[in-house]
């Protein structure tokens, strides 16, 4: 083929014209952007009905490998403590087929035990007498990461208490306390402080009161109780709309995990279920149905028969993806949802496989007034 153009040289105008025309016709899906915005604002605390939720970027901690990589980019802008990782750790994001041996049907042991736990749940929750509140306490250790060599990882203790009235549209109360207790998984606090790394802060503390638990409605200029419920922000209407039939509920959950690109569909399903159950708001019949749904997840396994979470014992059911294992812990005797934890499965950034990175323990009770704690 003739090559008349071998010595051709574009002008700057040619180059700019080519740059301007290459893929200039892409457009954003407005609805998709709107969904992303909603998710972002929920993550930023505009989260009416999940008072118990962790700061989301910390909630699914395996994102942190990406976060660490991304933070490297901002080295020029941050306070001078974050620098680029030299290794540029590859982060493959295949949605399925990792390991190549995923079974088609659920694991028998996990399935049997989850269904047994569902059977143990009483048909209904303890009813609230007039003036009583449902008390939901979350004891959480959430992780922070700083990627500057040698790297730091620590977890900070958070106590979150919610008082839920009998009628959703009555006043709720939420108390959030960052206790100041920290555990260091990689590095030490002294080293980090010497490095100028801020180890405190970032999370709001205080007491909020609002109908529907819609704590931030005012800041966002919304009328409380006008946000639609969802898996991540369940309200009574949303939960009433979910089927109790396990097959139908499974389909409903799968509908939101089918296009999971960031993790395996089962991991995504377990994350959603763990946050949903961890809200402490899910009624008994729906809780039982959720356990039966988890029993259907092909890659769920019994990961620890006698797991101890925050002093409470239960069976751990987990899903493992490329980086982490997420366990939900359920008391087999009562069917009570005890909490969830993230376990490191791949040595990375100084974290050792097998170590528990984060956990959140749930406790619920009926109490005699707003702000009253249960007697222990």
């Amino acid at each position: 083929m003739p090559e008349e153009n071998v010595h051709e040289m574009w002008s700057d105008q040619h180059l700019d014209a080519a740059l301007a025309s290459l893929r200039s016709d892409v457009d954003a899906d407005a609805r998709e952007l709107a969904r992303t915005r909603t998710g972002l604002l929920a993550a930023a605390g505009a989260q009416p009905r999940t008072p118990a939720a962790a700061p989301p970027a910390r909630r699914h901690w395996p994102r942190w490998a990406q976060v660490a990589a991304a933070v490297a980019a901002v080295a020029a802008l941050v306070t001078g403590v974050l620098v680029a990782r030299p290794d540029g750790r590859p982060a493959e994001h295949g949605s399925a087929g990792h390991g190549g041996d995923q079974p088609e049907i659920a694991d028998a042991a996990a399935s049997v035990q989850l269904n047994a736990a569902a059977d143990r749940i009483h048909a209904a929750d303890e009813p609230l007498a007039p003036g009583q509140f449902r008390y939901i306490a979350l004891h959480a250790w959430w992780a922070s990461f700083v990627d500057e060599p040698p790297g730091y990882t620590w977890v900070a203790e958070n106590l979150l208490e919610t008082w839920v009235p009998a009628q959703e549209k009555q006043q709720w109360m939420w108390r959030r306390d960052v206790t100041g207790k920290r555990k260091w998984l990689v590095g030490t606090e002294a080293q980090a402080r010497a490095h100028g790394i801020e180890v405190e802060g970032g999370w709001p503390e205080g007491v909020w009161r609002a109908p529907c638990g819609d704590w931030f409605a005012k800041e966002e200029g919304r009328t409380p109780c006008t946000t639609r419920g969802s898996w991540s922000s369940p309200n009574e209407e949303f939960m009433a709309s979910l089927p109790r039939d396990p097959d139908k509920l499974y389909a409903a959950l799968r509908a939101v995990t089918a296009d999971s690109r960031k993790s395996t569909p089962d991991m995504r399903a377990l994350q959603i279920a763990a946050d949903f159950l961890g809200s402490g708001l899910v009624p008994a019949d729906l809780r039982a149905a959720m356990y039966r749904v988890l029993a259907k997840l092909p890659t769920v396994r019994v990961t620890e028969k006698f797991a101890n979470l925050d002093g409470r014992k239960g069976t751990a059911f987990g899903v493992t993806d490329q980086r982490e294992r997420l366990d939900v812990i359920i008391d087999p005797a009562s069917g009570r949802f005890i909490g969830k934890r993230s376990v490191v499965t791949v040595a990375d950034h100084g974290l050792k496989p097998g170590s528990v990175l984060e956990y959140t323990a749930l406790d619920t009770a009926v109490v005699d007034g707003m702000g009253v704690r249960p007697a222990r």
Binding site: D27, Q66, V74, E220
Partner: protein, 199 residues
């Protein structure tokens, strides 16, 4: 717990907001409204609209989680966001190169039909773009970032420097070198090569 407040000497404004306040939802709502759509457009041109949606989402979540590390004194928030996005984009580098080569192949035929005419001026914009795509695929990721942050995202060289964490002088010299190389080499990218090696 101490809540860090903006220092008095920090010029806080729309381009350099203080993100460390107790109500991030308000500030991040504004950030999203100002920057999500152009950021998506930029990312979609690089890796396609679907991956761009994921990247926009991740960029803002990373920004939210690290809002305390944004220092308004060090640069405008746009640079910070594009810096985060650029690093997240790394995971898609292979897909980007593959797509650029596919675009280059699609632009091959018109040029071949034109060969006895040999006037580059007559080659329409689509063909120019296709040739450019082939040449862009040859660049290093860092060179591509600098070029496209300027040309597609509309950042100035100082903003690119902030985004990538490199000196502004380096950005300028890199941009000059990349443009010169493209001007000489893009016309050659008629894509006669077999493309089986792009996996």
């Amino acid at each position: 717990m101490t809540q860090r407040q903006p220092d008095n000497d920090v010029p806080v404004d729309r381009d350099r907001p203080y993100l460390g306040g107790p109500e991030p939802a308000v500030e991040f709502g504004r950030l999203f409204d100002a920057y999500a759509r152009p950021l998506h457009h930029y990312l979609a041109r690089r890796v396609g609209p679907d991956a761009a949606h994921d990247l926009v989402s991740e960029t803002f979540l990373v920004a939210l989680d690290h809002r305390h590390t944004y220092d308004p004194r060090r640069g405008v928030v746009r640079s910070w966001l594009y810096g985060i996005a650029t690093n997240l984009l790394r995971r898609h580098a292979r897909d980007e190169v593959r797509a650029l080569r596919a675009t280059a192949r699609s632009g091959h035929t018109p040029h071949a039909a034109n060969h006895d005419n040999l006037v580059a001026e007559r080659v329409d914009a689509a063909v120019l773009a296709a040739r450019l795509a082939g040449a862009l695929a040859e660049l290093s990721e860092g060179d591509r970032d600098v070029l496209l942050l300027v040309s597609w995202a509309g950042l100035d060289t100082a903003e690119v420097a902030d985004a990538l964490g490199i000196p502004a002088g380096t950005v300028r010299s890199r941009l000059h070198r990349v443009r010169k190389w493209l001007r000489a080499n893009a016309p050659r990218h008629t894509d006669d090569r077999e493309e089986a090696d792009d996996a």
